[in-house]
Symmetry: C2
Subunit: 211 residues, 2 copies
């Protein structure tokens, strides 16, 4: 079983590392980080690079595709090299997945039309414009498409899919080893729970970005 | 404000990326990934490398030190280059922190003697042998030392310290943007909650590792 995690300039690190650290613990699976060009790929902060060990062309038919999001997703929405690769890989994949605004890339490739899907809470309206039924749920499975909400939700997505493929006991073992027993010091992780002024501030700012 | 995240061969990626993605969003802070040698550093799975942009020697006096853990920590316990750097950096740091078995490296450097601290649940006994008061809590603050439990707990640690330094509202904003509203599909993230047979299996296996 081969899992391909797609990197691009200014992706969000945790979007990619959450599924890698959970789903990547599938027995007998090989996780490969891929990008248009092999080598270090910088994250959105500019302070970190993850290495793409292989090019997209090197890995044409992974069993599982994982597409992270991040501010850099905007610049990829018309990158036909990436979108073509997504369509081709999806043609033979068992699971096609995304975290955060990675779902916008799946949608731009035409893969989510008419499907239930999710994205970062600030990107749900944008996702709907591509014909997806955008839900605010944290992890959404529609057929072989599994999409997750913002950034940290890739951990929940990874464990969910891990359980589906390798069984509940294996997923519980990975949850235990990664000590995923969340105790956030605040309860502000969704627009329903965060202070209204923060939600409004980010909604206003995002109008200039997601157009 | 400078945040140094220390990398070493076979660290666990999420240990480092959790604090980077939360604490690293401190206003006016620069996060720097450092290692003995600059360049790509492989994680415990071998399938991913993060780039250390600077050497330890390049970054002698960060304001915040973050030490991740992972299987590779064992090979660093007598690495005097790293331990000396930790002691020196700690001499001027405002906060010295760890995730997972990273606390064993702080302890090996002599920094946790007589202090309350935590670690991965499988490493708590080992931590106590260094004279730390090992607790099973998820995030432990003792003076300027902030230690977190296994792997994913670095997210909670990062938000906790972020709130302490930059205020609750800023930490809530980062929680909202990273959509950290955890909904694990299982409730097996700690030895108190996971099925007993899994806990026992890992305890037995770890006896050969942590000695």
């Amino acid at each position: 079983m081969q899992i391909a995690v797609v990197l691009f300039d200014r992706f969000t690190a945790l979007d990619a590392v959450g599924p890698y650290e959970t789903l990547g613990r599938l027995p007998d699976a090989e996780t490969v980080f891929v990008a248009e060009r092999a080598g270090p790929v910088r994250t959105d902060t500019g302070n970190l690079a993850l290495t793409a060990d292989r090019t997209l062309a090197d890995v044409p038919a992974p069993d599982i595709v994982v597409v992270p999001g991040g501010p850099g997703q905007n610049s990829q929405m018309e990158n036909e090299t990436l979108l073509d690769w997504l369509r081709t890989a999806d043609g033979t994949s068992t699971w096609t997945t995304s975290v955060c605004t990675g779902s916008l890339l799946l949608a731009a490739a035409g893969l989510l039309e008419g499907r239930r899907a999710t994205s970062h809470w600030l990107a749900l309206d944008f996702l709907a414009r591509f014909g997806a039924e955008a839900t605010g749920e944290r992890v959404v499975t529609d057929g072989k498409y599994v999409t997750a909400a913002g950034v940290s939700s890739g951990i929940d997505m990874g464990l969910t899919l891990l359980g589906r493929i390798a069984g509940d006991d294996h997923a519980r073992a990975v949850q235990l080893l990664t000590e995923y027993d969340p105790q956030p010091p605040y309860d502000a992780g969704s627009p329903d729970k965060a202070p209204a002024h923060l939600v409004e501030e980010f909604r206003s700012a995002s109008r200039f970005i997601l157009t």
